[in-house]
Amino acid sequence: MNYILEGLRQAVMLLVKWDPETYAAIRATLTVTSYSMCASLLLGIPAGFALGYFDFRGKRVLRTMVDTCLAFPTVLIGLLVYAFLSRRGPLGSLNLLFSLSAIAIGQTILALPIIMSLTATAVESLDRRLRLTLLSLGARGHKLLFTTLWEARHALLIAAITAYGRVLTEVGISMMVGGNIKWHTRTITTAIALETGKGNFGLGIALGIVLMLIALIVNLSVMSLRKKS
């Protein structure tokens, strides 16, 4: 029990004293998750809207595929991204392997089905009268799209939080395509895994506390947004 308490004490010291290694991992995590969330929201919301709003041939099959991707193992995504970005892979010339960009690509693939599926569900569960109401008031094209999404804003926030939670806590992608390089591609989760293995509980617990704090801040911000809207 003592070594856990000692770990907690060390964690507080590391955070209070602005330990550069700890904060490098935090910075890398925040950077990479911001990129991946931006990309997955930009791609996932319009795609999810189309999936939920329109009726087209093959919609059921596509929906089933997207929903299946919700259970995509992070190591499998890591493997796929690694295969594409390694020197022998089709995108090897881009030299992205073992970089933050590579992790962001992998995390985008991880978050995309979550955003798409939950957006499609949110749009499908909107009141059927909404479309007729918007059309009857003269809304067309992008106005129709944005107003419909705005009506589903609470469900979209939940989709974003869910995806962020998954992206923030994944280890497989960061480890496989990031390489866990100190000061460079080491994220909070890979650092925890490594430091725990080395018996360095203080750093592991400190990063764990930060991870939970980030999740708390994101949730509080979203709750405040929900109240305002």
């Binding site: 009141d127 009268r129 007729l132 109401t133 059309l135 009857s136 008031l137 003269g138 809304a139 009506e151």
Partner: protein, 335 residues
Amino acid sequence: MDLAYRLEGVRHCYGNKTVLCIDEQAIELNRIVGIVGHNGSGKSTLLRLLALLEHPTRGKVHYFAESKEPMFEIALLPQEPYLLRRSVFSNVSYGLEIRGCGKNEIRQRVYDALSWVGLDPEGFACRRWYALSGGEAQRVALAARLVLRPRVLLLDEPTTSVDAESGRKIREAILKARNEWGTTVIVSSHDRQWLFDVCDTIIHLFRGRVVGSGVENIVFGPWRKLEGDLWIKIFPDGQKFLCPGVPGCNAVGLIDPSDMHMFPEATGSKYKRRACCIHGTVSGLSMVRSTGDIIATVYAGGEPFSAKVSGCVEQFTPGRRVILLAYPDKIRWMS
């Protein structure tokens, strides 16, 4: 005569079922046109076609637009209006924002529109969509259409599930739209008296077809043949309606209100055993704006009938028992 719409050979189907079948119908500009009919008669479908939100399966709906953007000239209030999940002000201003109006103009017009439907702008503008009663929500939805000052205003059952006060406010707003901006208003309703009170002309729809330009009475089957040419229909309250010349078991008879004669029950005993006769209670009187005729709505056999009042109106005040009599040769039959 300037026209707002002309319908030519319109057939509209959902799957294999034809829900609307109108060969020729013109709607004049600057008129208030009522659409009356039973559930499933095609009223809502017709309004959606007139709103250009759907295209007929066959035939054409010609809308004589004034501008290049007809969708901005027409506003439809659906039967169950949906309020956006935002404040009353934002709900009413939405259409104006789409049309690119300025902030000051939007504010003024939204406040005006709320006043027209009898809602205090200061008290209601900031209210959220969930803090409104059914009647208030209906009036906010109407204000969201009136604020656009549309060239054509289409209202689908605007008085359903609202109280008498809301119904009166909606009527006033419709008349204001027509009188101030020359809006052509096309309104469907079950409420015959309300329609008589508001509309210049009435289109009567039955099973997707236009059966008249007034509020004809409809007598449905099933009919049972008695001896000779005499047929009988039994109403839900047990009253027997005898009629000669019925073309079939499921025939539907149409009787013009002016051909439906009405007598006080006390003085009409001599008609009791005659054909095409039924007893009922007067539920209301209304004046047809276009002709000045007084029409009584009578509930007989569990169904509403309209009869033109001739003679002393005092004999037919609401609550009075009356006998309705139709002449068989005046009944139009549809098979």
